[in-house]
Amino acid sequence: MILSRMPWFLIAQRLGIALLTLIVVSFAVFFATELLPGDVAEILLGQAATPEAVAGLRDAMGLDQPALSRFIGWLIGLLGGDFGTSYVNNMPVAELIGGRLVNSLKLAGLTTLLAVPVALTLGISAAMWRNSIFDRIISMLTISVISVPEFMVATLSVLIFAVWLDWLPALSFGVNVDSWSAILRAYAMPVITLGFVVSAQMIRMTRAAVIETINTPYVEMALLKGASRSRMVLRHALPNALGPIANAVALSLSYLVGGVIIVETIFNYPGVAKLMLDAVSTRDLPLIQSCAMIFCVSYLLLITLADLVAILSNPRLR
């Protein structure tokens, strides 16, 4: 019947939109990087290069072909897993990114494991005891964390934990990671700094989503059936707030992959964001494009996943 076919249709539609977005984004990424000022060949050969040498290099790198055909070639390469070759050191981009991506995902994964459960618990319990002292403290803390920029948090934590107290290493990479405690110590500061930033947003949005459903008649009905406060919130309010919460979580987490440049820089952490920053300064177009595509894909993946959760958690669509 229509009812059972509905969710598959919606999911297919949602995936189709994600795919379309990806193509549009790749187009935008490619041509935005084309617009970057400066010519790779000139930069590579330096100021003393003769015009003939520059023209020769351009020809060798395929830069004299029209942009559109290079775009299509690049896109086909991407589909086949070929990210191109770095202009600067002639290494395959995939190889350059590979290790860095693993590092970034490790950092993001650890932060997610720590931040999501904490943020959801705090957000839901703040909503459950709305207007209590607990709720007010949470609200105040989240506001202050949101208003303090993360380089402040990062720098301050280096100052306090590494310089004054000497508990944790200031740099998280390059230190000995031969034991579990060493790994924990190495990751503690970047993970906590990132966790602070992403969970504040999640706490606030979770609290708002749960409170909105608490105000509905069916939650009041649960109260009038004799349900306890926790049953009322966990059984009746929360399942109906899943859609907005999933979206809040996805938005916050998408920041972890791309938006961590400052944290990676301060803690000297070799992730993708730092790689992209370096690539921009050397005009390494294939590398910039690939990094940008990785950020876009991870963002799209998270948002699409959140939408799928929203579709599946709604029995009207299921």
């Binding site: 509905t216 008649p217 069916y218 939650v219 009041e220 009905m221 649960a222 109260l223 009038l224 059936k225 004799g226 349900a227 306890s228 049953r231 009746h236 399942p239 109906n240 958690s313 709604n314 029995p315 009207r316």
Partner: protein, 553 residues
């Protein structure tokens, strides 16, 4: 006399307004309920009836608090209990049937899980036993497919069924007292009968006491033993149902009863002139929603509607939810362009879509919506709301516009100073008058009234009907009056169209409606309207075949 099950003594409930001011909502109310007795709390909106009913469960809505008095329920002193102790008696001693079951069922859980939740919370019985009991209750409440209805989600059953399911939810824990909070207000009349019957029979069978909150005296008369009349948080009158209906002593009760008596409509006569065409002529009108295929939309609502409204006459359109009444108003006004058929206003053909109509064509027919709350921009003052159509249609600005706004307010019997206020500062009746004044601002010849009195209290609604009649005499207007309420239509209309599933099934003079209706659906509709008579529901006999065919229960 036996010991009362519930005794409320000098109950005072207060609230803190947004501005921080303390308001007393319930001002010292006392009454008793005997075991097995059903007491009705009746009054207009804001009289505190729901607040009192909820306080019997120890519950007050956000911002309210019980400030004084005692509520005793059986052996419990509800006012002195902690929140945890109150949770213990909710569902087992006292339970609640909400006004809108559609909103009170959790959309993400199956019905059965919610119906037997009380048993699970209070650990009354094992799940299988609770399910059996629920199915038994479904049968007692005359629900179809009692065995399987529990496995559906709330959006998969009808409104009348949900309302009965919510009663099953309230009864599963064998409470001594059930609170009904306007449980049939949102239902169609033909559905209401079935629901009322089901409620009454289960309450009688179990000898359960009840509190029935309602604004509708006729409904209350069918189910309540005693009636408590409330106004402004105070008890005006208490008596048996018979007493209140036959010999009300308090002026407010008399006013309530008077508002019930249909005032026969006296047709107005204008200076007639033969050359004037009918004010509204609708021929073969078809309209619907959804994507258009082969020049017809996917969901066809209106099917070949034909009628004529003569100048100075009023045409009532009645039918239940889903009959296409509102779609008819939207199609005539151009909000929903019809895909076939013609609309002639004042003898001129109106193009289907709003965008194709000239200002002059738009001006002639104005629409007034049901909910003034949502139809008036909450951020604009009354003066700005009324001024906008004056500028749009008549190019008025400055002083001339202001003068006309005051005139319009005077037409709807509101003081001129009200133009500086925001809609949120006005009462429901005042807002509906502003809503009407906005339509008048265009100087229309025809006003489409879409359920404009349905959301108002009886007494306020009667005043709006009087106003409409006066305006008609002064301004030579004609109304297309859409309503689900027969007595309102009888009070203002010359002719009536009965609609069913997008078709006009019968057209006849309004004053003969109850007597001469011949179409089976019209007959069913007429016989389903509750009467001010305690024996009406028991004596009512409807052809079950007819009911099965037409009532969307």
């Amino acid at each position: 006399m036996t010991k009362p099950l519930v005794s409320v003594c000098d109950l005072k409930i207060g609230a803190v307004s947004d501005a921080g001011r303390k308001i007393e909502i319930i001002k010292g109310v006392s009454f008793d309920i005997a075991p097995g007795e059903i007491v009705a709390l009746i009054g207009e909106s804001g009289s505190g009836k729901t607040t009192i009913a909820l306080s019997l469960m120890g519950h007050t809505r956000t911002g309210c608090a019980i400030n004084g008095g005692t509520i005793r329920l059986g052996d419990h002193d509800v006012t002195a209990m902690s929140e945890g102790q109150r949770a213990q008696i909710r569902g087992t001693e006292v339970s609640y049937v909400p006004q809108s079951a559609a909103a009170a069922f959790n959309p993400s859980q199956k019905i059965m899980d919610q119906v037997i939740e009380i048993a699970a919370i209070h650990q009354l019985m094992p799940r299988a036993q609770a399910e059996d009991k629920a199915i038994e209750l479904f049968r007692a409440l005359a629900l179809p497919d009692a065995q399987t209805i529990g496995s559906r989600y709330p959006h998969q059953v009808s409104g009348g069924q949900l309302q009965r399911l919510s009663a099953a939810m309230a009864l599963i824990g064998d409470p001594k007292l059930v609170i009904f909070d306007e449980p049939t207000t949102a239902l169609d009349v033909t559905t209401q009968i079935e629901v009322l019957r089901a409620f009454r029979s289960v309450m009688q069978k179990g000898a359960i006491a009840g509190v029935y909150v309602s604004h509708d005296l006729a409904v209350v008369a069918q189910i309540a033993d005693r009636i408590v009349v409330l106004k402004g948080g105070e008890i005006q009158e208490v008596g048996t149902a018979e007493q209140i209906l036959k010999s009300p002593s308090h002026p407010y009760t008399q006013q309530l009863l008077q508002a019930f008596d249909p005032v026969p409509h006296v047709p107005v006569s204008f200076a007639k002139s033969e050359r004037f065409p009918p004010i509204l002529q609708v021929s073969d009108l078809c309209a619907g929603y959804g994507p258009v295929k082969n020049s017809a939309p996917a969901a066809k609502i209106l099917k070949n509607v034909n009628f004529t409204l003569e100048r100075g006459k009023n045409l009532g359109v009645i039918g239940e939810s889903g009959s296409g009444k509102s779609t008819l108003a939207r199609a005539i006004s151009g909000i929903l362009p019809p895909y076939r058929g013609h609309v002639m206003v004042d003898g001129y053909e109106q193009p289907g879509a709003l965008a194709q109509r000239t200002k002059e064509q738009l001006r002639r027919a104005q629409i007034v919506f049901q909910l003034a709350d949502t139809a008036l921009n909450p951020a604009q003052s009354v003066g700005a709301i009324l001024g906008r159509p004056l500028t749009f249609y008549h190019g008025m600005t400055g002083r001339a516009r202001e003068a006309r706004v005051i005139e319009l307010l005077d037409m709807v019997r509101l003081p001129a100073a009200i133009r500086h206020r925001l809609p949120s500062e006005l009462s429901g009746g005042q807002k509906q008058r502003i809503n009407l004044a906005r339509a008048l601002a265009a100087d229309p010849v025809l006003i489409l009234c879409d359920e404009i009195t349905s959301a108002l209290d009886t007494v306020v609604a009667a005043a709006i009907i009087d106003l409409l009649k006066e305006l008609q005499r002064e301004l030579q207007l004609s109304y297309l009056f859409i309503s689900h309420d027969l007595s309102t239509v009888e009070a203002i209309c010359d002719d009536v169209l009965v609609m069913y599933k997008g078709e006009v099934v019968e057209a006849l003079p309004a004053h003969q409606m109850s007597r001469d209706a011949t179409h089976p659906y019209s007959r069913l509709l007429v016989s389903s309207v509750p009467k001010l008579d305690t024996g009406w529901l028991s004596g009512l006999e409807q052809d079950p075949e007819l009911v099965a065919r037409f009532a969307n229960r």
